[in-house]
Subunit: 282 residues, 2 copies
């Protein structure tokens, strides 16, 4: 596996691969890799001739007061995992390689990015779309793989690709969970031993919603009451949002008709966790 730390080096490498007709797959990450990331690498493998994984803890998508400084990092372990997974090229730039001191250009999505996590983290998605646009220009992927765990991020990036005519196909990988159901996330590391079991209320509340829909429930008000009840059973859980939105447009809905994204953000102690599922009437 080749490790590339410069933009120029990565671009030259990508151009060479493209000219040779090989299809490039990109898995953008912030590192501290887990089985969720590795499932995206495996998915990229099936769709591309070579896989580039990027590790960059992107400062512009963290708000003041968020966990930029403490975000977990373990580059040596990440490298081993990448080699094991058959990653061809690791792109691992530092901040100054990615952002000039007088950096002044942003890519901003103005609709889908303003709800859900965008409402509680204003500016977050502007940082995400900007850095993903940069990574696309640097790695020149034919396909790029993102995890459905960050459902809103997936929709916002798909919209960016559509509206800016980026020549990249976005491929989504399913949520990968711990054996007990907790969605894998680098931020799970923040959970204390006491908090860890409490975090299961996210998945449990999604299970409850899925069961209700299976049994015929279609009213979002009814299903939401069920979801809130499951989370309320854990007194230490503080809800940031529980939203039912159209799975494509992210517009709030009141009935389950077309596929509906049920998305949650819940704080367990100091840790903000997200999870989601897509509900559809059969």
């Amino acid at each position: 596996m080749r490790i590339e730390t410069t933009v120029k080096g990565m671009q030259q490498l990508a151009l060479r691969e493209k000219r040779s007709g090989r299809k490039i797959g990109l898995v953008p990450t912030m590192g501290f890799l887990h089985a969720g990331h590795m499932s995206l690498v495996a998915l990229a493998r099936t769709r591309a001739d070579l896989v580039v994984l990027s590790i960059f803890v992107n400062p512009t998508q963290f708000l003041p007061g968020e966990d930029l400084a403490s975000y977990p990092r373990d580059i040596e372990r990440d490298k081993d995992l990448c080699i094991e997974a058959g990653v061809d090229h690791l792109f691992y730039p530092d901040d100054s390689e990615m952002y000039a001191a007088d950096y002044s250009v942003f890519v901003e999505e103005m609709a889908l990015s303003k709800v859900l996590c965008g409402a509680s983290r204003p500016g977050h998605f502007r940082g995400v779309t900007s850095v993903v646009a940069k990574l696309f220009n640097i790695v020149m992927p034919d396909i790029a793989v993102f995890g459905q765990k960050d459902a809103q991020q997936c929709r916002v990036i798909q919209r960016m690709v559509r509206d800016l005519n980026m020549p990249v196909e976005i491929v989504l990988g399913p949520i990968i969970r711990e054996p007990d159901g907790l969605a894998m996330s680098s931020r799970n590391k923040y959970l204390s031993r006491n908090e860890r079991p409490r975090a299961l209320c996210l998945r449990r509340s999604l299970d409850a919603a899925e069961a209700m829909v299976k049994e015929g429930a279609r009213s979002v008000a009814d299903i939401k009451a069920g979801v809130l009840a499951v989370i309320a059973a854990v007194p230490e859980a503080r809800i940031d949002y529980v939203e039912f939105v159209d799975n494509e447009t992210l517009v709030p809905v009141s009935r389950i008709q077309r596929p509906v994204l049920l998305a949650l953000a819940v704080r367990i102690g100091g840790t903000r966790l997200i999870d989601n599922t897509v509900l559809a009437s059969p």
Copy 2:
């Protein structure tokens, strides 16, 4: 010459050319072509294996109340000029091909685009950077050629390319003028027969500034007084701005030391004209 009206068709064509190793040059225009545009085509020819010229009157860079509806158009004449100039592919999409009804993604430069024309036309450069980003993704050029007549646009696009790591080299073509000195512009068509000679005050004021610098003047206050005097000699000319800024950062300067962009926007009757020159102490 091939005329391509769809994004998908243009992208497929570009990919094919890229894979065959040919270097693509792009000349983005709003049509109603004149010798200024054609000089950019000739410049592109010297730097690329094939030349794509795009014609798209981009609605998102016009402000409400500006001349979007009346912007001059003559596609048949434009086609003939392109064939004559040896353009390989004309990209000529319509509005609905370029913008979905629920379009929601913009590329915005936050520093250089806020002064000069950006101050009097807020939102204009956001439209420019967004559509140029789209054109780059659609045409996939190795080089793109812009005219120095739109000096600020050139700087803003160069900054976009730098900050988003776009794999495109920006090439600038010099201002092309009518025999009497008026900078060529599609908007010159708006000038009435009486207004046309009055419009020469722009170039004359730049000449005056260049002459003063040649004679040793270095104080921007002194040179600006000279520029304003020339324009004031035409009572029908209304100044939008006369600015002396660093040629790279567009930050106002008070002395001619590093290269200084002297940029003007002046209204002659209902027509807003721009012109500029770069002043440098020898």
